[in-house]
Amino acid sequence: MKATDNSKITRAPSLPMVWVVPLLALAIGSWMILREYLNYGPEITIEFANAAGVAAGKTVLEYKGVTVGEVQNVELAKDLKVVEVRVRLNKNAAALAREGTQFWIVHPEIGLSGVSGLETLVTGAYLAIQPGLGPPASEFKGLEQAPPPLNKSLGRAFLLQSNKLGSITTGAPVEFREMKVGEVEASQLSDDSTQVLIRVRVYTPYVDLVRTNTQFWNAGGLSLKLGLLGAQINSPSIESLFEGGIAFATPDGDLAPPAMNDAQFILNNEAPRDASKWQPKIPVHTPESAPLSPVRSGQIPFVH
């Protein structure tokens, strides 16, 4: 009895101890591989009319400045009309792929209203995403250009009829008292080609400024008046001088109800004669974060 006990004591501890090492290696190794593959989310396909600057394995998908996916493959669709871009999403970003999610390619852009995507000059183009709210989806149509920021697209759209486009371009400002409260979204000929239709969007806090009797006019460019008593040059903001612009005002008197979404207006070629004197009182809800928002009671802004 004693002899067998002894042999067990000398042998037993030495053998299994070493075999912890391969077990540990197996655990760590499989954890490494699992971690890598668990990070893989779903694969989605986005159709673009043009995928210039997008390359497999290089272009990434960014959301709020964070990389959430990588382009796996770029190829021409079978009908040769669109480009299909396959993107592998990260696991934690899988919820971004929903119906209504919008994708677009960010290139550097330099315009009068700002410079954007400047970093892509060096890093190359990337895909941007604006998540939708629908059920999960895996096939999308990419946008030609970036959609308007979400808080702006919530405003109200109006249709303006004009007999000519003038110098109005997409993105041109819509101004109220020479303050930008919206922008031009699109312009096209009417069906019978007798008019130009311009769709403008007024941002959320200012939508109530547009009443059913509001007057719109083309505020772009310069207006020159030469007379016996001298010359007068009228120009709105610099931005609308180059990009064209639209201004509006509401006549005094009884306040008409706010205009509905997609309401139609006539776009005048110049401001109504006494438009600058119109001063109907219309409450607007400026966002609380605005720098000049009214001080709430109890707060003392200045120490006298």
Partner: protein, 179 residues
């Protein structure tokens, strides 16, 4: 006395084979997972060891590609296979191959240290190439597995006592008298 000898011989072999098995396991993530992330003027790459070699050859760096292939894929693999052979032969007991196998063991223990080339390459690049948005190199998890595999192989080679090839009862005599 007899029991003790075979026990220590077994212990020696089982330590070597355990470490060799651990090294073999670590070689799997080392070769599957990316080892290096590089970003160079907008070109982003995440390379595994093999894709790095293919990339080097495609860019025309044939010699470098072959060196990395030999140091990072061929040598670790051959080393483990050689070690496995030694362990299997030793397990069966001494035979006529003792002399050439001992020579193989010496070769294995010499070339072991050279397979760290990849680890050095990655750490060197990550340390030197840090130019923010223009060029950047970062290590990836695979290089840790690779380093672990190399270290475990070296440890397994060290743990293997070539005297067992000669049927020598290791541990029975003081080691200094043999080496």
């Amino acid at each position: 006395m007899r029991i003790n000898q075979s026990a220590s011989r077994k212990e020696n072999l089982s330590r070597a084979s355990a470490l060799a098995l651990a090294a073999a396991i670590m070689l799997v993530p080392a070769n599957l997972l990316p080892v290096l992330y590089t970003q160079n003027a907008g070109k982003i790459r995440t390379d595994t060891i093999f894709s790095g070699i293919v990339g080097l050859c495609q860019e025309g760096w044939w010699v470098l590609g072959v060196i990395v292939f030999i140091a990072s894929i061929l040598i670790p693999l051959l080393k483990l296979l050689g070690l496995a052979w030694l362990i299997i032969v030793a397990q069966r007991g001494p035979d006529g191959l003792a002399r050439p196998l001992t020579r193989l063991y010496v070769v294995l223990s010499i070339i072991g240290r050279w397979s760290m080339l990849d680890v050095f390459l990655v750490t060197f690049l990550s340390g030197v190439v840090q130019f923010g948005i223009l060029a950047k190199a970062e290590p990836r998890i695979g290089i840790v597995a690779f380093a672990a595999a190399v270290v475990l192989t070296v440890m397994a080679t060290e743990a293997f006592d070539p005297r067992v090839l000669w049927g020598h009862p290791t541990g029975a005599k003081s080691p200094s008298s043999v080496t």
